[in-house]
């Protein structure tokens, strides 16, 4: 074999090279969506595409917005701060909470919105802190992979802040009865979804 004919050693090299390329390790972005813009934006997008986190935050923002501007401001700063703290704990001590936690946050916050509960200032603060710590901890555990980590968590916290700011500032000025009813209906839907989630969690044994 000579000239244009491929010799065995060359073929062997090509096969080995091909197998080497095929087995080349690459990043497995399991359960996360990457933007290609870096971990900060990945974290932001992760929150936006994770209804388990997004919906309870929306519910808390609606709840705080229904109660007025002071509650809205409190939620705006307490929730992201608690989320960051919980996230740092999650990054450090990886673990997880039962999926029932998510379901319970849906039911509790959605139910409070639906009933237009007249919460005290302290209760709003406590709810924001608990929600932030719990979901932040879950986020921290999820984002513990080296390519997201703390910067990704900052992206999530920025997204939380943005959503609370937008939703609460939308609801606070609502005065028309029908408009507030629409917000309460949204709360009832969130609670209903949470009830179904509790059932799913029990069925899957988690």
């Amino acid at each position: 074999m000579s000239g244009p004919t491929m010799r065995w050693p060359h073929r062997l090299v090509a096969v080995i090279g091909g197998l080497t390329l095929a087995s080349c390790p690459s990043r497995a972005a399991a359960h996360l969506v990457t933007t290609g813009l870096g971990p900060l934006y990945d974290g932001f997008l992760h929150f936006a595409l994770t209804p388990e986190d997004l919906v309870p935050v929306l519910a808390l923002a609606l709840l705080a917005g229904l109660r007025g501007v002071t509650h809205g401001r409190r939620a705006l700063f307490v929730l992201p701060a608690a989320w960051l703290l919980g996230g740092v704990i999650g990054l450090t001590v990886q673990g997880g909470l039962s999926p029932s936690w998510t379901a319970l946050s849906f039911v509790l916050l959605g139910g409070l919105v639906a009933s237009d509960a007249r919460l005290s200032f302290g209760a709003t603060t406590l709810l924001a802190a608990l929600l932030g710590l719990g979901h932040g901890y879950l986020n921290g555990s999820t984002l513990a992979q080296p390519w997201l980590g703390a910067v990704g968590l900052l992206g999530v916290v920025a997204a939380v802040f943005t959503l609370v700011a937008l939703a609460a500032s939308f609801v606070v000025p609502l005065r028309a009865v029908w408009a507030r009813v629409v917000v309460r209906v949204a709360g009832s839907w969130i609670a209903a979804i949470g009830l179904l989630l509790i059932g799913w969690a029990f069925r899957s044994g988690t």
Partner: protein, 199 residues
């Protein structure tokens, strides 16, 4: 065995094709499908659709606060029924209960029944349990339970919204007559569903 440059190119091409791309393992698989399955489920059965719309029609007939309390009550109690079903608690006569909901809600709209608000809420809530038990638990394998639930609840709420929007014709005399006729149609359909459930 002779091989030309084509053989080398083929091997090179094979090597490139075998290059491992980023393995986006499990990235949001089936998520959208779960949402759309849930969204489509309530509108896939006429019995469910008619009962949901009838709740909205009745709420519009009764006026505030029933116009929004009934549609708020139904999805929440329906979800409770779904949760009971998911927990494995059997509920006898589900199909009969769904058919009865169409009959009674249709009759309520037809006769422009005005019971105390609490009684209307209890009636609507009772039927919600049957609908939730029957429809809330049918998640296809591999799809997101959360997004299925979201789609299911949103679709149900939108059906109530359709009922309320149509029911707003109640402010006109001809609208009141039309609403009663619509209630009669729902009740008749309920009789058909009942016959089908029992037969």
């Amino acid at each position: 065995m002779k091989r030309g440059p084509a053989g080398a190119w083929a091997l090179a091409l094979l090597a490139v094709l075998m290059w491992a791309p980023p393995a986006h393992a499990h990235v949001q698989q089936g998520q959208a499908a779960g949402f759309f399955t849930g969204l489509g489920h309530p509108v896939s059965g006429l019995d469910h659709v008619l009962a949901m719309i009838a709740v909205g029609l009745w709420g519009a007939q009764l006026g505030a606060p029933a116009i929004w309390i009934l549609p708020v009550t139904f999805p929440m109690v329906m979800a409770l029924g779904g949760m009971v079903g998911l927990l494995g608690v059997p509920l006898p006569g589900v199909e009969v209960g769904i058919a009865a909901s169409a009959i009674l809600l249709g009759l309520a709209v037809m006769s422009a029944l005005r019971p105390p608000l609490a009684a209307a809420v209890v009636l609507v809530g009772l039927f919600g349990i049957f609908h939730g038990h029957a429809h809330g638990t049918e998640l296809p394998a591999g799809q997101s339970a959360l997004l299925y639930s979201m789609g299911f609840v949103i679709a149900t709420g939108c059906l109530h919204g359709v009922g309320i929007a149509v029911g707003l014709i109640h402010r006109w005399l001809w609208g009141q007559t039309l609403l009663r006729a619509a209630g009669a149609v729902v009740a008749l359909a309920g009789v058909f569903f009942m016959w089908r459930a029992i037969a």
